[in-house]
Assembly symmetry: C2
């Protein structure tokens, strides 16, 4: 039997405990598949509270940083989380000390991925992070290896299960965002502080990492345009259905002549595209390559089992000595690409206005759009209301975001428009 | 710059030409991603006819076997096809001579995969075959690497684009199999001799390869139960829709207490499952792992670009020295598993009978089912006809295939049953 791969795990939350369980349950299987035993030598966590895992034979390190330098450890698994602090120091120190690193930390990679990749390469060690994006879906491997023969034209995906669960439930029940969020929190599908999820930040972290691996570009989280789902109403979800769309929070990246466009925001997705049917806590990533065409990868985007599955896949790669530059090309060859400004985004738009139901309103709205040379694709007006306010829904043909914003500013100022217009970008695939 | 990976390509049909084009177009990109240039040193094909590819600088070998022993070749790409003959001899000889082999040949792997994997391991060379299954979808890599931490519980997929195209078109147009097949042949989506595709053999080859990689078992093509799509009528497709299903030709594999069940046949797939919506020439594979849960991979299952993408991914793995046992565990550790006999299959069934529209027929049919303790889930009877023959559609709860076959034999003998009953298995996911 070959010598074991000696593992140190920092962080024993949901994911860390999952890794311990998986390695315990499939130890024999994995020593055959990995060519050598995968052995957890030491663990570290904030508290020594009781967990439903067996830590027998593993050293307890009070300070996770001790894992980075322990002579009996080959690979450090960082499952602490957070873009700075201990997690960052641990990964840096571990790589600098010649350890391989496996991490599920998207925030860390989104902010410091390029620098950490360079360090790993300098030390000829692996920096592996399959678990950082889309849970158990092997999308990083797909981008770096399975689709390596392609120039990626575009990628997009449902990258946050909490948001997708909320949007799915809103559609299925007709209830509003706040109600569904509260339920999701009670059910454990959303955090007590849901900001990272519902405001799109988590999806943006993941998108930045995917973009790096797909385009061989320096990870540029600051270049991601981010909007969350708080402003999506059940009324918009209903109109979407009527117009042949489903509302999804997508992360999208593509190269344009202005640079790399990275954006996370609610989208109107045509019902006849596969990604429209990814529901609940599932994630999906679509990759469009110049040779392979359109491919889609879907699965559970979070949770103990799926994330542990991804971490262990990375560990088997390390055990077998299979390596690949973190972001498809060596760090010094990563392209520095300009972030394409959102003003330059070209696409179609959905706009819902609440207007006073009186003559001339539609004419004024369409006038404001015409002034910016934005042409209408469809218009829906629904019923009459006691209060006199009715929703008017417009969809446009493709236009530049800057023009749309100017038109919106004008429309918001119209006396008959009762509240800030709700605007959702329509995606064509 | 590192020394180039020297490639010999046998076969310059659609796929071979695609590989030449891809390597020409992305040569610089791939030398960075692969860590060294990927250089085609020699090619071989049956005829020297004019092709739309540039073969400058590549040696022409009249005999493909010369590639297997040429001292200036590191890896042989076998794109000749066929389970025996030259293809098999070439792969054997190349491995025996210490070359790596990349192949798209599912028939060869389905029949001789285990033996070739053993040879590759003995010689410490790669046997890579991402292109053999599901075109550009990196499903072999997903099974062997990305999902390596899981015990696979079940896998199933749409593995033949021709069949899926025909079934999709039959549903969309209401036309019959023969008509749609003829159109598909004219459009180039089906071969002049469609047997391998429409009779399910191609899908069965692919399933056998997937099963090996998913379960770490010896490849057992003989253990696959195979039925094609010739007997699917547009009437059944309509009834399926009415009952909430779509008819798909699936390949399915799972472990049962009787052994490994591998089967390829038309299935009734619930409309609310993602695989029901994979249409046209697309392929999809669903993998259910014990930790990762359900994952699905979809994309183009054939064609020049997608297949070349898969071949080149394998070449980059070889260039980087990344290897993995062909079927997830070393050949000598591959499990020899009994094929679960089809009689032991347990599932629900759809049955359409054409019956004389007279009293007592339904009673006789349900009596035959009751005798085998098969319980009905639903029954549909449609209208009256001039000829007196009307379709009756029954769906059953789960039962054993053997019981169903006995009941069918009885039903077929009933005087009022006009033609052989059409039976399609219902899959629950």
């Amino acid at each position: 039997m070959n010598s074991p791969l000696r593992i140190g795990i920092a962080g024993l939350g949901t994911v860390g405990s999952g890794v311990v369980k998986l390695l315990a349950e499939h130890g024999r299987l994995l020593s055959v598949r990995g060519g050598r035993p995968l052995k957890i030598v030491a663990v570290s966590a904030r508290s020594k509270k009781k967990r439903d895992i067996d830590l027998t034979g593993m050293r307890w390190e009070k300070d996770p940083m001790a894992l980075a330098t322990a002579p009996d450890i080959d690979v450090v698994v960082e499952l602490i989380g957070g873009s700075g602090g201990v997690a960052r120091r641990l990964v840096q120190k571990a790589l600098a000390s010649g350890k391989h690193v496996v991490t599920a930390n998207k925030a860390l990679l989104a902010l410091h991925g390029t620098e950490l990749a360079a360090l790993a390469e300098k030390k000829q060690r692996s920096l592996a992070f399959e678990a950082a994006v889309a849970g158990g879906i092997p999308i990083i491997k797909a981008l770096r290896e399975g689709l390596v023969g392609n120039r990626v034209k575009r990628l997009y995906g449902i990258l946050n299960g909490t948001c997708n669960y909320i949007l799915t439930t809103m559609r299925e029940t007709g209830r509003d965002f706040d109600v569904v969020l509260a339920e999701a929190q009670a059910a454990g599908y959303a955090e007590a502080d849901p900001t990272f999820d519902v405001d799109g930040i988590d999806a943006a972290h993941k998108l930045a990492v995917l973009t790096g691996a797909a385009f061989g570009a320096r990870v540029d989280f600051a270049g991601v345009h981010v909007e969350g789902i708080r402003r999506v109403t059940s009324m918009d979800i209903e109109f979407a259905q009527e117009l042949g769309y489903r509302i999804k929070l997508l992360g999208l990246a593509r190269e344009t002549r202005h640079g790399i466009e990275q954006r996370v925001h609610p989208c109107m997705v045509p019902l006849d595209t596969p990604i429209a049917h990814i529901e609940g806590v599932f994630n999906a990533v679509v990759v469009e390559g110049d040779f392979v065409g359109t491919t889609m990868f879907q699965g559970r985007g979070a949770g103990q089992g799926p994330t542990a599955s991804a971490v262990v896949a990375d560990l088997v790669d390390v055990a077998r000595g299979r390596d690949m530059p973190a972001f498809v090309v060596p760090a010094e060859k990563l392209a520095t690409k300009k972030a394409s400004p959102m003003d330059r985004h070209v696409g179609a738009y959905y706009m819902r206005l609440m207007v006073q139901d009186r003559p001339g309103v539609i004419a004024a709205v369409s006038g404001a759009l015409a002034k910016e040379r934005i042409s209408l694709e469809s218009m829906l007006q629904r019923g009459r209301s006691e209060s006199g306010e009715v929703p008017v829904v417009l969809t446009t043909h493709e236009t530049e975001e800057a023009a749309m914003r100017r038109a919106l500013a004008r429309i918001a100022k119209l006396g008959a428009v009762a509240e800030e217009p709700c605007v959702i970008r329509i995606e064509a695939f």
